[in-house]
Amino acid sequence: MSTDQRTLRSALNGPRRGDSLPRLLWKQRQLIILSLPVIFVFFFSYFPLWGWIIAFQNYKVAFKGSLFQQQWVGLENFVALFKEDTFLRSLRNSLGIGLLTIICSYFFTLLLAVLLNEIKVSWFKRTVQTISYLPHFVSWVVAANLIFVTFSPDNGIVNELLLRLGIISSPISFMGLPSIFWLIAAFSEVWKASGYGAIVYLAAMTAIDPALYESADIDGAGRIRKIFAITLPSIAPTIKILLVLSIGRLLSVGFEKIFVLRTPSTTETGTTLEIYIYDFALKYALFSKGAALSIFNSLVSIVLIVLSNFAARGLDGEGIM
């Protein structure tokens, strides 16, 4: 080993044979200090996990002792939960809204990306993209506001159009219809996220070799033919991975979205698991049951994520984690 290399190794403080762990840690103390922000993760992500124990207790808010002195009830909360109709209904709503959202936002994001990719006038493409990002950057409160106004039975544009076209004879209160709440939730997501989501596909499309399109031109392939024969197959890995990943998030329907979009009349179809947890905690102060539900939700989500990660690994030989 030359002197130069030795200086380099010691300068880099890299692990060397014969270095004991404490010595190594001391050598890298500056890096350890720079790692200190993990404290935030401990305090705000991991410590709250202690709260899971109240799922196995009959937690009383007014109780004066420590958390461990609360009454332990084992799995009682879980058993009681699984027997409830409202639990099954909210599970059904979560799955329903989740699936519908994935299908719709998948299709429309991809469609938007493909169509944007076909625009050859660059200023037009840029303008459309910039506009399509806007909903992503506003809060769900603002989005819900706009959606309520648009679908309002009083002068809402949708009702007005339908009335003028003679499709309906009197205004419909769309946001109060339990039967279409899933659709409203899914299409709100499409409206809010498609433009932004298209970025990933468009980035994948820039990697396609232009020679492919040129030879397709020579063969006389039309535009639509080229989309199906070149563009879509070329970005297939991206499509698959994003699909698999979104299945992992199936149960995380998006609490804020549902919270602001639901109305008292759409309780039946608009109560998802997350909303149900919120109701437990803040409406009825049933902390233990809510925590039990949180655990159930987390476990199912983790299982889904692990499964989808395996699936992604199978698809391209490389996982996400």
């Binding site: 991991y46 996990l49 399509s132 806007l134 809060s139 106004v149 007005e160 006389g220 925590a291 949180s294």
Partner: protein
Amino acid sequence: MTTKLTSAPKNTMLSTKTENLIFDSLNALAMLFVCVLTLYPFINTMAVSFNDSIDAVRGGIYLWPRMFSLKSYETILIKTSSIPTSAMISATRAILGTGLAIPMSMMLAFVMTRRDYVLRGVVTKLVLFTMYVSGGLIPTFLTFRMYGLMNNFLVYILPTTISAFNVLVMRSFIDGLPFELTESAKIDGASEYRILFTIIFPLSLPVLATIGLFVAVSQWNMWFDTMLYCSSAKGLSTLQYELKKVLDSASSMAGDTVSAEAAASSASEGQSGRVTTQTIRAAMTVISVVPIACIYPFLQKYFVKGMTLGAVKG
């Protein structure tokens, strides 16, 4: 192009041209439709917000106010204090939150790229797992209450400081910088702090702009933490939460005439003109969207890059 012209038979070429024309026109129409669908609700809300309240109840306002009036803005910005105060809180949390999140995430991202660092794997896993494990609403609420974060401004900025996604995006970016920079600086005797803050930091401005935008926008848009932790502290209310309250109070969605006091929750008494929740709500929406709409178009090239980086590494 020339190859195509010479090799393709004439009739196919013509039909290809026609097909192209039809496709392009339909595509342009579809894209215009997307723009209208996206923008119309915003423009309509703006038109309503600048319209006279009583007149707006009649409906029929689409892209432009029919009877121009600034009364709604006057009501929420001058006659009441709750909206300006909450907007200040929102802006403060956006600024402080970003100011805290950027250096903290940067530090973690930096040590995660150092292959020679013994604790690299531990730190990376600790940060990554937060994407998959969450205590859930109630345990988190109880823990934060235990920390004394109820009705405390810190609840806005501390818990969101480290986001796994942001750190990962930064890590991918720093990974792309030549390692020789760090190496040669080390040989010259620079400390790790110096390497991070005088070499890596200035080179990472594109990704910092991206993450800065993400953090600032999400801070500005948050309302749920206000509702959960700070709903009884009037001075800590955020703009989005005020908007949420107005949205709730106007659940009927009709242009119901109410006095300003009811609409903007703490309006002063005894006003002459009446405003409705409809226009108040519209004006508040406009106020909360305008800052974002003014900023994001200019940072576009950065966040597009950031999104792509994030997508590659998951």
